[in-house]
């Protein structure tokens, strides 16, 4: 594919991609967009996107009023809120994971869920330590509130989140002996990255956060413990409190660069990662919009580099993306509690990030054990008794394919490629799949086996 080879210079990287001789917003590009900005899309959605063009499609992602198949966002939110409350009642965080998967599968606002997943990894807080389900839910709601919004407000609110403070052993911070845990992490993990602050800065930021406590699972500002003295943080001097400290930290040049690098790795390319020059371009965008994620994402999703060979197929699908993407593109649904368990076994337990750094992604998802697990999960999702493909009960995979206008064995294989793959497999592989398809009489089984086989291809693991 021509796109695979296409490169973009740092200067041109973030300009809006325009249709022309060497690039068209076709089904493959639309699939790439929906795969990265959300969790995949159905064949009909791809057709609709191609029709409306790239810019409208991106705008539609950022403002999903009426979703696909007429699912109204408001109605969906109401229903999932009820479901969430019931999941909370059980006290079992794994049910929350199942609830989140339910959201990912059905929500019209795909970018929201993708960003929440991104931020969940960024502000990695694990229920293994934060065992109280209400605290985790509150943390989750914080992620949802600011996912597409102001990162500044996000960090300030996160600095007061009981779950986060409990997770980082920062539930008390005394004047006489400031607790440096949160101060270190907010700079190292959340805003600047290593090397962009000194140990002294950590001590001073810790002083700014004195008096910030969690009592009885709620955030409390203990004035008596707050150090009212002058602090020197990253070159600025004054009687700073926690909110001020966050402001100063995010004002650093390293801030937007740090976030840009993460966004590039998560949404654009993991291997090879985008060069510093290109990343700096996105950092400029973040600075320009003062950390407002909405406009930044819009720029990213319309950019030349996003649709170039530097991005397409340059990421490894995380277990969640792999499974949810498979189901969504085929209008599928199944047991989300089972899926949550299976994804944990593949290394991505929702609400249970392995450590403070979240999930590294890229090649770390892949080893012989997880590859087998992924292949088996694909088979299970397709063949499981409760699995449903199509809008009403008993609709079946063959009808989903027929509804999308699929005709013949080659047509079927191409259709599956469009939905699930970022990179075209070699001709011999395609031949083998067509042969497989031709040899199966039953419609449902034919689609199922082809999807299963495609789901075990190396290409399938690439986003």
């Amino acid at each position: 594919m021509a796109t695979q080879k296409s490169k973009v210079s740092a200067k041109e990287a973030w300009g809006v991609r325009e249709e022309g001789k060497d690039w068209k917003f076709d089904r493959r590009m639309a699939a790439h967009l929906y795969r990265r900005a959300g969790f995949g899309a159905t064949s009909e959605a791809l057709d609709a996107a191609v029709k409306m063009g790239m810019e409208k499609a991106v705008k539609g992602i950022l403002n999903p009023g009426a979703g696909e198949g007429g699912v109204n966002l408001g109605a969906f939110e109401k229903e999932t809120a009820e479901l969430g409350a019931m999941a909370m009642n059980t006290g079992n965080v794994h049910n929350l994971g199942a609830w989140w998967l339910h959201r990912m599968l059905g929500t019209p606002d795909q970018l929201q869920e993708k960003l929440v997943l991104f931020w969940h990894g960024h502000f990695a807080t694990s229920a293994a330590k934060v065992t109280n389900i209400r605290m985790m839910k509150q943390h989750d709601e914080l992620l949802r509130k600011y996912a597409k919004g102001s990162f500044r407000k996000f960090v300030q609110a996160m600095s007061k989140d009981p779950a986060m403070l409990f997770w980082l052993d920062s539930t008390t911070n005394r004047k006489i002996r400031p607790n440096e845990n949160y101060a270190r992490e907010v700079m190292e993990l959340f805003c600047l990255g290593e090397g962009n602050y000194t140990e002294k800065d950590i001590k001073e930021v810790a002083r700014a956060f004195t008096g910030w406590e969690v009592r009885r699972k709620k955030f409390v500002f203990n004035k008596r413990q707050h150090d009212e003295g002058e602090k020197r943080i990253l070159g600025k001097v004054g009687n700073f409190n926690g909110d001020d400290a966050v402001r100063i930290i995010l004002d650093q040049k390293a801030g937007p660069r740090f976030i840009a690098k993460k966004l590039c790795r998560y949404f654009v390319a993991e291997e090879p990662e985008l060069g510093d020059g290109v990343v700096e371009g996105l950092a400029k965008v973040i600075r320009k919009h003062d950390y407002e994620m909405g406009p930044v994402m819009e720029r990213l999703l319309m950019s030349r580099v996003f649709y170039s060979g530097m991005s397409v197929g340059r990421r490894v699908k995380s277990p969640v993306e792999m499974a949810v993407g498979l189901l969504r593109s085929l209008r599928g649904s199944g047991s989300t509690t089972e899926l949550d368990r299976a994804l944990a076994r593949l290394g991505q337990g929702l609400y249970y990030p392995p450590n403070v750094k979240g999930w590294d992604g890229g090649r770390t998802w892949i080893n012989s054990s997880t590859l087998r697990g992924r292949a088996n999960l694909v088979g299970k999702l397709l063949g499981e008794k409760g699995a449903r493909f199509g809008m009403r009960r008993n609709r079946g995979l063959s009808r989903v394919a027929a509804g999308a206008g699929v005709d013949g064995a080659e047509g079927l294989v191409r259709w599956v490629y469009d939905l699930l793959l970022a990179v075209e497999p070699p001709g011999d592989v395609t031949k083998g799949l067509v042969k497989l398809a031709k040899g199966i009489k039953d419609g449902d089984e034919r689609v199922r086996k082809v999807v299963h086989a495609v789901g075990t291809l190396p290409e399938f693991q690439l986003a």
């Binding site: 054990s369 697990g373 088979g379 299970k380 592989v429 086989a453 190396p458």
Partner: protein, 419 residues
């Protein structure tokens, strides 16, 4: 004999036409290429320590070392353990001073066969008597740290992640529930937790055609593809390959010895099967729990030691019969030992130094180091003389062939535990 059968299977899989992979057909050129490369790699690995395996059996709860390797020849022991002591007549004799707990006839057999090393007095300075802290210390090899996020084996696996080669079997496997032990936690590589051999099967719902399509999909060379794609293709092919290998090996598998009917026995049997199937996994980690015997110690301890001794000896003799015993070593440790003086509930409380066991065909048999003094104690507990990091260093340098200083953050000297 079983050994020959698997060698034959290996020959099939490592050269030319008729490989395990090709189903009823000739192997196309590009497949032969990959297969040859694999066989070359294997030959290189077999020469050095590249194929040594370490099986770790963690005894959780604080095993009472004094009642495991019993100083039956010491009156002080008998005086302090009036009710819970092991009498000289019932102990399995090691020498005039030492004896094994009567349930450890498995260890006795291993010792007689020259396959067991008992390192005495293992511990670390400023012993911590909390289960969680002490276990974390043993796992991370960082007694002084305030925050421990990685384990010694995790660091080893991270350090060797570049050397995985074409086969790419997971470097370490934890057999047990889904919570990964800290010892295996690394920053780069994930070690899976597997409950049973089911986790190694690639399900194709018995459809041969589907299987063939999957295999073609994985094996075809991705010429001109990105590095990431090439990595993905190789990993997929290798994953399918090892799944095949294991299924093949399991088909003909007949246990060479009888494993005891216990969870530990089952798990060690699984490890034996995986080793036999030719997995290039280096580390297998198992836990055997319940050793926190504060009250009514006698029966529980006896039952647990019986399970340990029987399972470990079955495993070692199995490895011996299959010819793997020179490259497989089993290490068993506990987070601390127990107090010299028994308590009032016919049990014992948390202590410090304890023995560590190393089993296999390559170990230096017998007792290594003297038994800690029964009178010169540290707050009522035995004093250690061998820092556990020495043992780790020896294992890393001499057994796994990796620079221990990188893992332990310094040199700790060695212990002569391998022959």
């Amino acid at each position: 004999m079983m050994k020959k059968a698997t060698r034959r299977a290996f020959m099939k899989g490592t050269g030319g036409a008729g490989t395990l992979f090709a189903m009823g057909g000739m192997a196309p050129h590009f497949l032969v290429g990959t297969a040859e490369a694999v066989s070359k790699g294997k030959a290189a690995e077999e020469k050095g320590k590249g194929d040594h395996v370490l099986v770790v059996v963690q005894l959780s709860g604080g095993n009472d070392g004094l009642n495991t390797v019993v100083p039956v020849g010491d009156d002080v022991y008998h005086k302090n353990r009036f009710i819970t002591r092991i009498r000289k007549e019932s102990a399995i004799k090691i020498d005039d001073y030492h004896g094994f707990h009567p349930s450890l006839d498995g260890f006795g057999k291993l010792l007689d066969d020259g396959r067991l090393a008992v390192l005495q007095g293992v511990g670390y300075p400023n012993p911590n008597r909390s289960h969680f802290v002490s276990m974390d210390i043993w796992h991370s090899a960082r007694p002084g740290a305030s925050r421990r996020t990685t384990g010694w084996l995790g660091r080893y696996v991270d350090g060797t992640s570049g050397r995985r080669g074409k086969r790419n079997d997971v470097a370490g496997i934890h057999l047990g529930d889904s919570r990964q032990p800290l010892a295996l936690a690394g920053t780069k590589v994930q070690t899976p937790s597997i409950q049973s051999l089911e986790g190694f099967k690639l399900h194709t719902s018995g459809d041969g055609k589907l299987k063939k399509a999957m295999e073609t999909g994985a094996k075809v060379n991705r010429a001109g593809g990105s590095d990431l794609l090439t990595f993905m293709q190789r990993s997929t092919a290798s994953a399918m390959g090892s799944s095949e290998r294991i299924q093949e090996a399991l088909k003909d598998y007949e246990p060479a010895v009888k494993y005891p009917n216990s969870r530990l026995g089952d798990q060690l049997k699984t490890v034996a099967q995986l080793i036999e199937a030719g997995m290039t996994t280096r580390i297998y980690y198992l836990t055997h729990g319940g050793f926190d015997t504060h009250a009514n110690q006698a029966q529980t301890h006896a039952a647990l030691l019986k399970q340990l001794g029987d399972a470990v000896s079955a495993f070692c003799f199995d490895m011996k019969k299959r010819g793997h015993d020179k490259r497989v070593a089993l290490m068993s440790f506990s987070e601390f030992g127990r107090r010299v003086k028994e308590n009032a509930s016919r049990g014992t409380d948390h202590g410090a130094a304890a023995p560590l066991f190393m089993a296999g065909g390559a170990v230096k048999k017998g007792l290594i180091g003297k038994h800690p003094s029964m009178t010169d104690l540290d707050q009522g507990d035995l004093k250690f003389h061998t820092d556990f990091r020495k043992v780790y260093a020896t294992v890393l340098d001499e057994w796994l062939g990796y620079d221990s200083r990188k893992v332990l953050g310094g040199g700790f000297g060695k212990v002569k535990v391998f022959a």
